[in-house]
Every structure is written in C-alpha cells, then in structure tokens.
Amino acid sequence: MRRRLPEWFVLLLPAFVVVAAVVLIPLLFSLYSSFTPYKLTRPSTLWTWIGERNYERILTDWKFWAAFGRTVLFLTIALNLELLFGLGIALMVNKVTRGQRTLRTVLMFPMMFSPILVGFQFKFIFNDNVGLVNNVLQSLGSDAALPWLVDGNLAMFSILFAEIWMSTSVFAILILAGLFAMPRDPLEAAKVDGCTPWQSFRHITLPFLMPFIYIAMTIRSLDVARAYDIVQIMTGGGPARRTELLWTLMSRTGYVDAKMGLANAMGYVSILLSIAFTIFFFRKLSAARAELGMGG
C-alpha cells in the first residue's frame, strides 16, 4: 500500500515548484557559481571549484571598494536630498486648496518615465557641446563649456541630479499621504499651547511623518542601491570609472569581461549593503511607529 502525500503538501506543490524554478534554483546556482571561475565564454569553467577565491579577490580589490563606497555616498546624498525636497514639496502641495489633485498627478510624472529615457534626456541636457545647461550658461555670458559628464565630480553631480529629479516624488507622495492622514486636532492644540508654526512642525508634524519617511527611505534605499540604468546611459560608469557604482561594475565584470562567477560574488557582497540599509530603516520605522503608539 502506497502512502499518500498529505493534502496540504499536494495543494501547495504548484507554488513550491514555481518558487523553486524562478527563485530558489537561480539563487542557488548563482551562489554556487560565485565559488567557481565561471566565464560565459568557457562554460566548462562552471565545474571548477575554487572555493572562496572570488571573494578574496573582491575584498582586496580597491576598484570594488571604490564602487562600494561611491554607492553608499550616492545613496546617502540622494536619499537625504530627496527627503528634503520631497518634504518641502509635500508641505507646499498640502497647502494648495485649488487644483491639488492635478498637482498631485503632475508630481508623479517623473516616476512614469522609464529610467533609461530619463538617462538619455539628462545625457542630452548635460552634454558639453549641445546640451541645454551649457547653452543656457553661455547665453548668460559664461564662456565655459562645463564638462558635465566628463569631469568626475560634475558627472556624479549630473547623475545625482537625474536620480533626484526622477524620484523625489516618491518621497513627496508618501509624505503627502502622511500629511493627509494626520489628525488636525493635535496641530490646533499645539497652536493654542503656544507653538509657532515652526515649533508645530518640529514637535507635532514631523514626529507624525517619521514612519512615512522611513517607509520611503526603505523603498528608495533598495532602489538606489541597485542604481544602474541612469548611470549606464549617462556615463557608463566612466569616465575612467569615476562614476562606477556597484551595479555598473557588476555588469561590466559579468557581461563585458564575461567573468560571471566573480560578478556573482560581487552581487552577494553588495546585497549585504541593501540588507543593512533595510534593517536600519525598518528598525527606525518600528521605533517611530511605537513612539506614535501604533504598535510594533
């Protein structure tokens, strides 16, 4: 007599199969390949086990750490500026009484564009010969043709600009949602209690918005940590790797140099970055929610 599989297992089996096929197996495969010298051009290298040599190589590779550090810097600057602008925009839009719905929709336009197109657009805007920015500068009387995408710092600035242009509205929308959800009474109580508008904002509004801000931070930190498309289009990580971020480095290693094993190892190291940021912001989020009495 054959024992039958338990019913719950049979019912869940299709889900298991799908998850295994699209997530688990690729994940395990990439993990395995990060311990091999796997080169796309020589498939047989997949079967050579080299232990943690890829990881050793990464950890001692200054190019990787430069990209890692640059990504953290990029992330920090982008998130903080987006928060600042998003908060400002949300506070202003919240004051608008007429046409607010339209404004809210307009606000989301940048999010509707493909990052690739945004990249191309800004590549044109910042072009040192025919770009809009230099054109404007020159018609204002400056002779300089600033090398926006060629100079390392300026290129970083340009990429940040594009990234912030595209994604500030994520913060703006989420913070605006927070402002809408905010009860009016405590603000009025604060007014009566003697708060100036700034004090009301600092002591009442901002603490209430913190959970919303941390949600936006979490989402955006994951987004920015895998920034690739805009950078790839605008500078391709160049010039001379001066705007190289983790993901452009990885794609260069994996597809251009065809060292897939090494690229996968980089992927696993850089995932730590995302995990660290996510944990950080989630802790902050829980703390902020607990502070508001919303429960863990």
């Binding site: 009474d185 009025e188 109580a189 009566v192 003697g194 009495g293």
Partner: protein, 365 residues
C-alpha cells in the same frame, strides 16, 4: 480680571454666513455654556475666540484686549478638544508639560506645574504612558490637565465629553465642575447636550442657525423660555406643545374642541381668535395625588395613559391630548396599566402660551 467680550461677531464661509453678529459679555470666572443643535455656530464661535478661525466681522476681546488679529498662542487661553487632541508621540508627562516646554520655562517649574495638574486630575499613575495606552476618560483628563498646566486666562471646551460613554460623561461632568470651583477661571464650554449645559453653566447661551436665541441662567431658560425652540430644546422631556385658538371666555380651544384656561401670566397678552401653542412641562402635569400641588391655579384633564416609563422616583406617562402626544410625570408612583384612564392636574402658573406664527412666548408684562 479676564472678561471675554464678543461684539457683533460674524463668521462667513464664502457667501454662507455661519455666525450672524453675536453679542456676548462673559464675566471673569464665569462658566458659560454655548449650546444648540449641530450647525448652530457654537463651535465656530468658540474657535473664533480661540483664534483657530478667522473673525469675518466684529470684535472679540479677552481681558479688555482686542484679540482679533492675535494668533492663538498670544491669547493666553487653553482649549480642550472633542477628540482630546493629545500628542500621540509624547507621554502623559510630556503632553502636560509641552506648553511650558515651548515657553522655555525652567525644568523645575515645569515639573511642579505638571505634578500639580496631575494631582488635581488623578493622573499620577499614568505619567509615563502614551495616549494610545489610555482609556477615553483618562485621555480626556490628560487633555484637561494640559489646559490647567498653563494657568490660562480662559478655558475653552469644545464638546469635551461627547466621545465618552454615558456613565463616564456624568463622572467627567462632575470633575469639570469641581475643576472650575477649584481654579475659578473663566470657562467657555460648547456642547449640544442640554443636560450638560443645565448642570454645568452659570449662564447658558442657546444658539440656533448662527444667532443667539436666549441667554440666561439654566433655571431662567427652563422656566421662562422665550420661544418654542428654547422650550423644546432645554429640559427633558421637551415641553409639551398643543396647537389651539384663544376663545372669548379666556380659554384656549385645542384641536379636538377641548378647552384649557389661558395661564395667568399670559392672560393680558393674548387676543381672541389668536392662533397659539399651549406649552407645559411634563413636571407640571400629574395624576391627582401624585405630584402637582393640590392648591393654586389648576386645570384638570382626563387622560388615557398609553404607555408608562417607570424611572424609580417617578414614572413618565405618555398620553394623547387633542391629537398630540404629551408626557406627564407621576411622583411617588404606583404601577400603571396601559389604557388606564387618569384625571391629571395641570399647574397653570407653570404653563406658557406661544404665538403660533412667531413661536415667541406671550407674557402680560
């Protein structure tokens, strides 16, 4: 000395006028209740005094100082809100001390004031909790504590009890009254509940549609209402009102031909053929031997009791007179069977005559 004076105060929202030129003098230390049905402009008036709404016209002054253009923080008032309006991210202690903290008072002084307020309201046990961990009554007490801490010139209460259950409401009512007796500040209190108004107020301001209808002590409003609106709004159950016509022999003929004598107080003010509403309270209509004094100006009415509500010390009786449902009261009650016929006595000196058209009361003087 902190009197509050409103002169010709107007509030407009676009073309809609919510408050129509209110005049009101509130004395130092007085407990004034603004009461009226929802939408009567009472909360708007309070919020204009607080500075949370712009004043469209007229003048509000607190302690002799015109405050029309001052922000709330410069008016030295505190306000207790309907939804408590506690700061959710602050503990009870921080909530209580917030206004002093903002005013940059020394820590020792803040602590003293907070502890004092906590003692008055019995909040000592709850000082480190967040508002989310408090019950409705506790939150309301914290909100009141926050108001006390500042030692304001005027307390403003905006329907502070309407989110509490009936039992707690009665309790808090007593606490508010005690608080007033203890601190003695001017209080302006808004409610839609006439029981709260009656029990708390030194003076009631009854409003409707942005107008003040009557101002007076609770008993003045209860005993001498200026029109049928006041008569039915103040007092529970509302005053019975019967439609009728004044006849030649000094009676009011009701819809079914039955006649009741015009009360003494109104006799000189009515004329024959006038359409009137005859008003009397349930308290002044009782079965023989069960309430209304046996002597004095009395009318006897024969009633068929449809329904009775025993309340313990008294029983509320429901009957139909001249096609209108009326209520009477039976003191030292005995059991009543539905459909029972009773002879009831109506105290005429407590009855009122209102003009059917203007709804205003008719009195001789």
């Amino acid at each position: 000395m902190t009197e509050v004076t409103l002169s010709n105060v107007i509030k407009r929202y676009g073309v809609h006028q919510a408050v129509h030129g209110i005049d009101l003098d509130i004395e130092d230390g007085e407990f004034v209740v603004l009461v009226g049905p929802s939408g009567c402009g009472k909360s708007t008036t309070l919020r204009m005094i607080a500075g949370l709404e712009d004043i469209s016209g007229g003048e509000v002054s607190i302690g002799g100082r015109v405050v029309n253009d001052l922000p709330p923080r410069e008016r030295n008032i505190s306000m207790v809100f309907q939804n408590y309006a506690l700061y959710p991210h602050m503990s009870v202690r921080e909530n209580l001390g917030f206004s002093l903290h903002i005013a940059k008072r020394p820590a020792a002084e803040i602590k003293k004031a907070v502890d004092e307020a906590a003692a008055i309201l019995g909040l000592q046990e709850l000082m480190d909790r967040k508002p989310a961990a408090l019950s409705g009554g506790q939150r309301q007490r914290v909100a009141m504590g926050r108001a006390i801490v500042r030692h304001p010139d005027v307390f403003l209460f905006d329907e502070p009890l309407s989110n509490l259950d009936a039992k707690l409401r009665t309790q808090m009512r007593v606490e508010i009254k005690k608080l007033h007796q203890k601190v003695g500040n001017t209080i302006i209190y808004v409610t839609h509940d006439q029981v709260e108004a009656m029990t708390l107020a030194d003076r009631i301001v009854l409003m409707r549609d942005g107008h003040i209808i009557q101002v007076g002590t609770p008993l003045e409003l209860f005993n001498t209402p200026v029109n049928t609106f006041v008569a039915t709004f103040i007092g529970s159950p509302p005053m019975n009102l019967l439609d009728g016509v004044v006849t030649e022999n000094g009676n009011v003929r009701l819809g079914d031909g039955q006649e009741l004598p015009v009360p003494t107080a109104a006799r000189a003010g009515v004329h024959v053929g006038q359409q009137v509403r005859y008003g009397f309270r349930a308290d002044n209509l009782s079965p023989v031997g069960h309430g209304v004094a046996e002597d004095g100006d009395i009318a006897e009415i024969d009633l068929r009791i449809d329904l009775s509500e025993p309340l313990g010390t008294e029983t509320l009786l429901f009957a139909v007179l001249a096609g209108t449902e009326i209520q009477g009261k039976m003191l030292n009650p005995r059991p009543v069977t539905p459909g029972e016929r009773m002879t009831c006595r109506l105290a005429l000196e407590k009855a009122h005559i209102f003009d059917a058209e203007t709804t205003n009361v008719i009195r001789s003087s």
